[in-house]
């Protein structure tokens, strides 16, 4: 596609349920990021994929969070046993080669845990 696509755009889930958030990066981009943005907060780095390298998971807040990237393209962020504090906008971005190039952002998935 022309840009980074995220789905769903909105997700409401009950506390304790698992959720999956999807990101389709720009075709050919080797780098993919997930960030979290809580109300009134800045961008919180979650995870970074670069090509076939092991992902940088240093930003994942707990072991309930995981992400994978299949075939170097689509990525899924999974949150298990969701908590109310997980409510936020989850942003995905991709770039052609990494931190030396512009990152293009999707519109985000707004997750609400009730």
């Amino acid at each position: 596609g022309a840009g980074v696509s995220q789905s769903p755009s909105n997700k409401v889930t009950e506390k304790g349920k698992d959720v999956e958030l999807r990101c389709d990066p720009i075709s050919g981009h080797t780098a993919l990021y997930w960030y979290r943005q809580s109300l009134g907060q800045g961008l919180e780095f979650l995870i970074y994929f670069q090509g076939n390298s092991a992902p940088d998971k240093s930003g994942l807040p707990s072991d309930r969070f995981s992400a994978e990237r299949t075939g170097g393209s689509v990525s899924t962020l999974t949150i298990q046993r969701t908590q109310q504090e997980d409510s936020a906008v989850y942003l995905c971005a991709s770039s052609s080669t990494g931190g030396n190039t512009e990152a293009f952002f999707g519109q985000g998935t707004r997750l609400t845990v009730v």
Partner: protein, 112 residues
């Protein structure tokens, strides 16, 4: 380790006044520097970037930024602010093989 500091959480300026948003970074090699803007309810959009060469870079919407290596700064400026510039602004630093690291953001309010 890479880090970015945006010391101002909120800034309020009058429409037509000049603007400067501060950004300081820490990076061990040649930095690649970016400014992004996020309007309410929108995704992040690139305003401008610095890779090398001229230390004063021009971006979209009349914004410019100056890279000062000696001060580890990359401040964003605009000579005359418009009401539509009200948004949140993020500075970021990256490099070859590394991820982008973002600052906490500065919320700009424009008063008429």
């Amino acid at each position: 380790a890479q880090s970015v500091t945006q010391p101002d959480i909120h800034i309020t300026v009058s429409e037509g006044a000049s603007l400067e948003l501060r950004c300081n970074y820490s990076y061990g090699a040649t930095p690649y520097l970016f400014w992004y803007v996020q309007s309410p309810g929108q995704g992040l959009q690139l305003l401008l970037k610095y890779f090398s060469g001229d230390t004063l870079v021009q971006g979209i919407k009349g914004f410019e930024a100056e890279f000062k290596r000696s001060q580890s700064s990359f401040n964003l400026r605009k000579p005359s602010v418009h009401w539509s510039d009200a948004a949140e602004y993020f500075c970021a630093v990256g490099g070859w093989g590394n991820k982008l690291v973002f600052g906490a953001g500065t919320i700009l309010r424009v008063k008429s």
